[in-house]
Symmetry: C2
Subunit: 361 residues, 2 copies
Amino acid sequence: MPHSSRRDALRTLLRDRELDALLVANPLNVRYLTGFTGSNAALLVRSDGEDGTVFCTDGRYLTQSQRQVPDLERLVDRSCADALARRAARDGLERTGYESHHVTVEGLDRLSAAASGTDLVRAPGLVERLRTVKDDAEVEALRMACAAADRALADLIEHGGLRVGRTEREIARELESRMLDHGAAAPSFETIVAAGPHSAVPHHRPTDAAVCPGDLVKLDFGALVDGYHSDMTRTLVVGRPADWQRELYDLVAASQAAGRAALTAGTRTGAVDAASREVIERAGFGEQFPHGLGHGVGLEIHEAPALSTSGEGMLFAGVAVTVEPGVYLVGRGGVRIEDTLVVRESEPELLTLTTKELVVV
Amino acid sequence: MPHSSRRDALRTLLRDRELDALLVANPLNVRYLTGFTGSNAALLVRSDGEDGTVFCTDGRYLTQSQRQVPDLERLVDRSCADALARRAARDGLERTGYESHHVTVEGLDRLSAAASGTDLVRAPGLVERLRTVKDDAEVEALRMACAAADRALADLIEHGGLRVGRTEREIARELESRMLDHGAAAPSFETIVAAGPHSAVPHHRPTDAAVCPGDLVKLDFGALVDGYHSDMTRTLVVGRPADWQRELYDLVAASQAAGRAALTAGTRTGAVDAASREVIERAGFGEQFPHGLGHGVGLEIHEAPALSTSGEGMLFAGVAVTVEPGVYLVGRGGVRIEDTLVVRESEPELLTLTTKELVVV
């Protein structure tokens, strides 16, 4: 059971901090630790084991939670976190951690009132730290999410979806629709389709502008499968690529390959960014690469770790990240190439399998 | 300019509380007060006027914010709220309110460190209170959002989208796609399509179950237009309605009409719930109506005020709410009928215009 293993891993962190329990209030963290997908829940994880570890949701989710969380004691209460704080006090816990990076100032008042008798101790980011390293079930979900995006793009190209005269908005809708065809519950974020000069805008929103002959078209998109997000960017050329487009593409592809090559367990995140960035800087385009190299991806589309110039953290096997350098020439066009990968001891595992050769449609 | 009027209205609340300023950190509240639609921003609203009222966003949004917020002083900083807290201290403000219902415990540490010199005072929910009463620009956005949903449903029915053999998932996708055709930026929440016995589950997720002859089909859906959400439920019958279906439908329709009739300025929210609920209770189905009557709707799909049995708040002209009673007969089927409306002095303004007669397809 991956969820009980995750709770066990959390217990180690709790004992290190001499906490008797952690009150988990962030719904994504509750999902990670229990598999529960409803919108209102909290979890009290006891450091000494599953006994006394209590899941809470409200009446709307009783049936669903019995199915998804059959193995934990269950409380039913609308104010889940408050009910579990009361429970911690009733059970005589002395030091109960809470997610101080998630609980609001007003929320802490309510928790404190409910928990009189137990010390509420700040414990920010513990579950998020566990979440950076993906277990097999998570990698499988990420793999399916990446496959849905890969297949959607293949379908789009095969059916002539990227042709002169189509608008960015039409292409984005078709790409999103095809991801649903391949099992996505939803797009994992607002799809970016940026044609011609728009491709030089890093986070362009699709417009009614139509694709013109010779345009670079940048597609940044992902699929949500079982709660996990994929993230991929490909930049194509519609028609015959000009020399500058091919050169720009080759540069970004080389930078992206260098970033992937540097992505191994034991490396600092900043070093991965540097390996990729160096290729672009050497070519004189450092200023035209104005963002970090990548980010963690999982239950959130952006999560820890960031791969950026100032990154000090160490990579571990199982960390899932994007590698996405880009060069943007204002008024002309830009190229970004992005994969989702899992860090391993040696070579990273590539989850987005669409070719990174320059595709001409 | 609606945004500057909204800031003026906020200033009245600030002066009532003897605050020199409010540090607005909730992005939806920033959007409400400025029109800015990016993902990272904060706003410092001075109680004494627009001078010294400062908007902050990060470098990615510089161009966009110049277009959307031309009328306010601008700071560019990644940590928007912290930067504005520093600014409040620098400007010698003595009492600066902050959104303690939104700022986390860790976030307050950072604000306090940045703001040394100004007193940070809890000021929860001030902008949310203003947001309950919609101005003309907001009602217009809600109207367009409701129209997109109305038209999508009309198209779906006209093109035979609700026929025997189609799955709930297929119907949901078509409905969502047709909302985009009619100008929605996205569905305003995950569309509910529930056929046959599934219609008795209040928040059913679409499955691969197919529509059968004689099924009740419950559709709960909405469109997002200019940041505003619509919310509508209709329940139809595919084929010839059975007597029990027609009786159930008529009961819920009568309850919904009673709720709408009670919806006037000056009424307590609990009284509106009671007026609608009484019809269902008198018929002996009180237990089968297990949720509140409705909720506020606007920049969020669920916002204040709640229309529920325990509601003590007063309704004002301009408050936008849903009215959505339902009766759910487990194993057989359920009916819910929901409109989005705006409270007025006398009769409410109906924004979802699809008929509430029983539609048979």
